[in-house]
């Protein structure tokens, strides 16, 4: 993974024009990395929405972010791959480190960060004008990564997302023609095709039916072997089912959101140390 850009050595950065680097990125097995937030604060305009978030999301583990609406979970998630900054009024403080490299380092390009830290959104958003295959390969195309084993990449990504058997004969159909659950798995395949180190999922099942939700959860568990997953969810049972670690966010009375408690999922759900966590996970508020 160590390559250089702009003449500077940086672990994160891979020059997308160099096919050998691109290939090596794809070939080696586990690429997952640890991502850590250190004292992250966030603002929209003058309003502080996150205060002093410290959280380690371990390599090849699933970390769930839970908490009531408006507590900053999604904002935090978007900070992790520099999507926060595309909102014009947004600003932040603190560090986010991917295997020790600050992704907000001035020498770091946002695009490079986003290639290593993929994202799946709340609403399935495959590119409607592209075929299933082109959707999966979109990340490679956008980053001008050339490959002579595109078919393998497509099959691999779709298999990991649990979609291959359903769409193997329909790779030439447009992505929008799939069902909602299939579209979301296509989005997961699209994110996985560029072999990210971390996969962020922003309530990936909230627009789906229970059957599709189960498929996605199954997929999350399977891909966690090779990619670090951070998942925002409103569904307590989902957090319990898929995650190894849980962080409980809370924002009260218009104050910025903060982490009340974070730890192994079983501990958060069975013996939380903070009474508010206990109330939340047992459905007494939120």
């Amino acid at each position: 993974m160590t390559t250089q850009i702009d003449g500077e050595d940086h672990k994160l950065v891979a020059t997308s024009h160099d096919p050998s680097v691109a290939e090596s990125l794809r070939v080696d097995g586990v690429t997952a990395a640890e991502i850590e937030a250190k004292g992250v604060h966030a603002w929209f305009g003058e309003r502080m929405v996150l205060e002093d978030i410290n959280l380690v999301m371990e390599r090849t583990r699933v970390t769930a972010l839970i908490g009531p609406s408006g507590c900053g979970k999604s904002t935090f998630l978007r900070i992790l791959n520099r999507m926060h900054e595309i909102v014009p009024s947004a600003s932040l403080a603190g560090q986010v480190e991917l295997d020790g490299d600050d992704i907000y380092d001035p020498n770091q390009r946002a695009a490079t960060v986003r290639r290593h830290i993929g994202m799946v959104f709340q609403r399935p958003n495959p590119f409607p004008a592209m075929t299933v295959k082109d959707n999966v390969l979109a990340g490679l195309r956008f980053n001008r990564i050339r490959s002579n084993r595109k078919d393998e990449i497509v099959e691999e990504a779709l298999t990991k997302a649990g979609l291959w058997s359903e769409v193997r004969d329909r790779l030439g159909n447009l992505g929008g023609a799939l069902s909602g659950g299939q579209q979301q798995r296509l989005c997961i395949a699209r994110a996985l095709a560029v072999k990210p180190a971390v996969l962020l999922m922003d309530e990936p099942c909230s627009a789906l039916d229970p059957g599709s939700t189960l498929r996605i959860e199954q997929t999350v568990k399977e891909i966690a072997d090779e990619v670090t997953v951070v998942i925002v969810t409103h569904n307590m049972q989902q957090a319990l089912r898929v995650s190894d670690k849980t962080a409980f966010f809370l924002a009260q009375d218009g104050n910025p959101g903060y982490i009340v408690e974070a730890g192994p999922t079983t501990q958060i759900f069975e013996s939380p140390s903070d009474p508010r966590t206990a109330d939340y996970v047992n459905g007494r508020f939120g």
Partner: protein, 425 residues
């Protein structure tokens, strides 16, 4: 009283029974399912409509021509429609219920509005064809006005070939200049943004409100005075005309591309230009093509900006960069003012050719926007590609894609009593 009309209604269970018999299957012991379509406009309803229309027509006919001294088709229609609506309401009120009556009457009013909107277009089409078609011969299309005699009984009234060539050349050049500028402007306004977004949008809006003649005067003063009349000068003026049309159309289309897609693209580390080129524009493709062709159609028909830029010519000039050229719109405008009947006819021919060209562009727009996806066997998925742009209101252009069917029926309460199922009162 209400039951009497029921025999008119098709017994909905009958079809099922017939189907079973046709299949040769033994008729099932269970009672055949009685299928209902609450929104169906049954033959009996058509009957009610026709009878109501006929009786209101008769009433007005007696009133209008027998009892009073009124005359004229317009007055007749103006009196007939309200009486029809009143009668229609009353009949439906008696047969069904208030809800159905209101629904049908409002539906009729909306349908009448649609017919009213269509009338000028239909009349215009008939008029242009009536006047232009007799002279639309191969001769007219392959001859210029060179050698034409401007006398009442001249056998050689000339043709429109030079104007046809002129229009095609000018519009093509205008498109080459105007379309990239217009699409880039729309992309700037909607995708790039920045400090100048608002002023650029204001300028485009102002441009679309600028009288076409002003575009002509502008090109005259900055170009024609220095370089003389030419088809190219006309093309520049036309480019000014089509730029705001296409920009605004494109902007509307880009606006309805869902932001989720841009975010997805950004999250895949795509640079901004890549997001626009590979995600936004392909998603908006059909609407984009429609708005471009609409802009071209507008430019084809413009006359005012050409008067001062191409000047007009009665001989063939295929070089758009020097010497005056003619154009169909300009030719029609000039010929119709002449005092000789045969020359006026030529003007109508010119207008008809222009009309057909604009029509062809519209058809092309429809074919391209609906057919592109189908070419590569992706037909089934076009709908879903469009669904990303469909649901957002305010896009007149996307509505083009929804086909000719206009929703004029108002939603009836689905839980209201079904006309065919009601109890006799």
């Amino acid at each position: 009283m209400t039951t009497e009309l029921d025999p008119l209604a098709t017994p909905s269970g009958l079809d099922d029974v017939l189907d079973d018999l046709a299949d040769g299957a033994p008729a099932p012991v269970a009672r055949p399912l009685k299928r209902i379509k609450p929104r169906e406009f049954k033959p009996s309803d058509v009957g009610v409509l026709a009878l109501t229309a006929a009786s209101s027509f008769s009433i007005i006919w007696i009133l209008f021509t027998q009892l009073t001294l009124l005359s004229g088709p317009l007055g007749f229609v103006v009196m007939w429609l309200p009486v029809f609506l009143a009668l229609y309401w009353f009949v439906n009120r008696q047969l069904f219920n208030r809800q159905v009556a209101v629904d049908r009457v409002i539906g009729s009013i909306v349908t009448m509005g649609a017919i009213l909107m269509m009338t000028p277009l239909v009349l215009l089409t008939i008029f242009v064809f009536q006047r232009g078609l007799p002279q639309l011969t191969w001769h007219a299309l392959t001859h210029t006005q060179q050698g034409a005699l401007y006398t009442p009984n001249s056998k050689n009234i000339g043709g429109v070939e030079h104007a046809l060539v002129g229009t095609i050349e000018q519009v093509l050049i205008a498109a080459v200049i105007g379309i990239p500028a217009a699409v880039l402007t729309a992309i700037f306004i909607n995708e790039v943004g920045g400090r100048f977004t608002k002023s650029v949008r204001t300028i485009v809006t102002a441009m679309s409100g600028t009288p076409a003649i002003v575009a002509g005067i502008f090109i005259y003063s900055v170009w024609v005075i220095h370089f003389h009349y030419s088809g190219f000068a006309g093309a520049l003026a036309l480019a000014i005309i089509l730029l705001p049309t296409i920009t605004r159309g494109t902007e509307e289309v880009l606006k309805v591309v869902h932001n989720d897609l841009r975010e997805a693209s950004v999250a895949l580390a795509a640079p901004e230009w890549r997001t626009v080129w590979s995600v936004v524009l392909p998603t908006a493709r059909s609407g984009l093509i429609t708005s471009i062709l609409l802009g071209i159609a507008v430019a084809i028909g413009e006359t005012a900006p050409l008067i001062m830029t191409i000047f007009g010519s009665s001989v063939m000039n295929t070089n758009p960069f020097s010497q005056p050229q003619s154009a169909l719109s300009l030719l029609a405008y000039r010929q119709i003012k002449l005092p000789i009947k045969s020359q006026i006819e030529l003007g109508y021919t010119s207008a008809l050719v222009l009309f057909i060209m604009v029509f062809a562009v519209f058809i092309l727009a429809r074919l391209l926007s609906s057919g592109l996806g189908r070419k590569s066997g992706r037909s089934s998925s076009r709908r879903s590609a469009l669904s990303y742009v469909r649901w957002t209101p305010g896009s007149a252009i996307e509505q083009e894609d929804q086909g000719p069917e206009t929703e004029i029926e108002l939603e009836m309460d689905p839980f209201g009593p079904d006309p065919g199922e009601r109890e006799p009162r």
